[in-house]
């Protein structure tokens, strides 16, 4: 899931300075679970825009705005979209990227995408994967040090862990301590053996099958 957080309303309004008529798009998938762009948040955003003098031509919460087929189905033939000067999107950048492909309107993001989240409950998520393209969690008990170590160390901890907490954020567990504890429960072998090589940053920008 892509975790998103609302932008400051002032930033969105600044972006709409020359747009009187606005259409609002929400997301029924990730942004709904993040409580940032579902039905409720989209309706509230419409009211906020009206209060600030905008004319809202309509709104739609798309099943998955990041799917170009869905975006095209729901937006490209919409009169309300056609009448608007700008489309405000309560979704992540992947959603806006899809919408950009199917309509020619000024697009204004209302959310900041923050990370790929593992959800504990609605509104509560953690970054456990940074989609690095070179996954090594098979050697670290399913716990990703590239994502969860502040320094992305792949071979083991730095010297700053105090009682299993990270030196950068003492409220945060040292991920290597977690990996170590997990290994005791599973294979009982401590740190991964051997030296993990440098990560590759050479990952594809598109997948076509």
């Amino acid at each position: 899931m892509i975790v998103t957080k609302p932008k400051l309303i002032s930033e969105v309004i600044d972006n709409l300075v020359n747009s009187k008529k606005v259409f609002v798009v929400g997301c029924a998938a990730c942004a709904t679970k993040c409580l940032s762009g579902g039905e409720k948040e989209t309706a509230a955003f419409v009211e906020e825009l009206k209060k600030r003098g905008k004319e809202v031509t309509g709104s739609a919460v798309l099943d998955t705005p990041c799917d170009m087929r869905i975006a095209k189905r729901d937006l490209s033939k919409s009169d309300a979209v056609a009448k608007s000067d700008a489309v405000v999107v309560l979704a992540c950048g992947a959603g806006i990227g899809a919408i950009e492909k199917v309509i020619d309107k000024k697009l204004v993001p209302a959310l900041n995408p923050v990370f790929v989240g593992t959800m504990e409950r609605i509104g509560v998520s953690y970054e456990y994967c940074c989609v690095c393209g070179d996954c090594i969690i098979g050697t670290t008990g399913g716990i990703c040090p590239v994502t969860r170590c502040a320094k992305s160390l792949r071979n083991g901890p730095c010297g700053g862990a105090v009682n299993g907490k990270c030196e950068v954020d003492p409220d945060c567990d040292c991920v290597w301590a977690l990996i170590y504890e997990k290994s005791k429960k599973t294979e009982g072998r401590g740190l991964p053996r051997g030296i993990a090589g440098p990560r590759s940053y050479n990952k594809p920008r598109s997948i076509e099958k």
Binding site: A150, S152, G160, V162, V168, P198, R199
Partner: protein, 286 residues
């Protein structure tokens, strides 16, 4: 004699640490270097420590070298990707800097530029391996070098971190990757350190435990709050109850070195801004 030669002979090694200035005025730094340079076997120069921007460690190492001192270049993985790190390793070598201490580096979030990009393209284990690769006449991409460097490589370990088993495994990996010597975070509890040495006997590298000059009760408080620093209560009360805390700090340091001399391969003295007292500390070592 060069540091690597001394390490090989098994001599008791004394190293100290200097911090490059924030700005271009190197006069205070060079004055301190003049005081400690003749007394120690190597001077570490920190690499934008605490993630605060300073004069580069490489420039300062070269200045020390020109004065005839033995610099130890600290190189962190924080600010440079693998291209820049390899290039800097070659550059250090051609400037006459052979001793390189490799470490991950304090995270930007604990420094002055909290929004800076933390690079960490390589980790310290990998960077040690890369330095060895360069020594073999090739770079990371496999391209042949026209002239290869030769280094005396060091790394860090924290004998007071927990869980300690992981620190020991990391130390073994760093030694396997190429570290010939280790410097440690500040050691106050010599008994605990002795226990640590026993656990790392199997690792073929020299260990230089860190000692730190406690100059005031305020400094003790500051230090205690830092990651990876454990100061025993009796040491804290010695500084707090001393009429002259700085003199007491010097005594504590000298006593620690005297004890460590019996068990360790050397010491690494960190005076954090009070380097002019290092000669006094060393003169009091029995």
């Amino acid at each position: 004699m060069k540091l690597c030669g001394r390490l090989r002979c098994g001599e008791f090694i004394i190293t100290a640490e200097l911090y490059p200035p924030k700005g271009t005025d190197i006069s205070a730094l060079m004055k301190k270097a003049g005081l400690i340079g003749p007394l120690v076997h190597g001077i570490n120069v920190t690499d934008n420590q605490r993630a605060s921007m300073r004069l580069s460690a490489m420039a300062v190492c070269r200045l020390l070298k020109e004065k005839g001192y033995e610099p130890i270049l600290q190189m962190t993985c924080r600010d440079r990707n693998r291209i820049a790190l390899q290039s800097d390793l070659l550059s250090a070598y051609v400037l006459g800097i052979e001793n390189v201490l490799i470490l991950s580096g304090d995270h930007p979030k604990v420094g002055e530029n909290k929004d800076a990009k933390p690079v960490y393209d390589l980790d310290p284990v990998q960077l040690l391996g890369v330095a060895k690769t360069l020594e073999s006449g090739f770079d990371m991409s496999g391209a042949k070098l026209n002239g290869a460097p030769s280094f005396c490589l060091g790394a860090v370990v924290n004998p007071t971190a927990s869980p300690i088993e992981m620190q020991i495994e990391m130390m073994a990996k760093k030694a396997l990757a190429g570290a010939q010597f280790f410097q440690t975070q500040a050691i106050f509890d010599v008994r605990q350190f002795k226990d640590f040495l026993r656990q790392v006997k199997h690792i073929p590298a020299k260990v230089l435990p860190g000692v730190i000059l406690l100059k005031s009760p305020k400094f003790v408080k500051f230090l205690s709050a830092l990651p990876g620093v454990n100061i025993p209560p009796e040491i804290v009360s010695r500084i707090e109850n001393a009429k002259d805390p700085l003199q007491e700090g010097i005594s504590i340091c000298a006593e620690a070195i005297t004890e460590l001399k019996k068990i360790a391969d050397g010491v690494h003295v960190m005076a954090i801004g009070m380097e002019e007292y290092i000669p006094e500390i060393l003169s009091r070592v029995k």
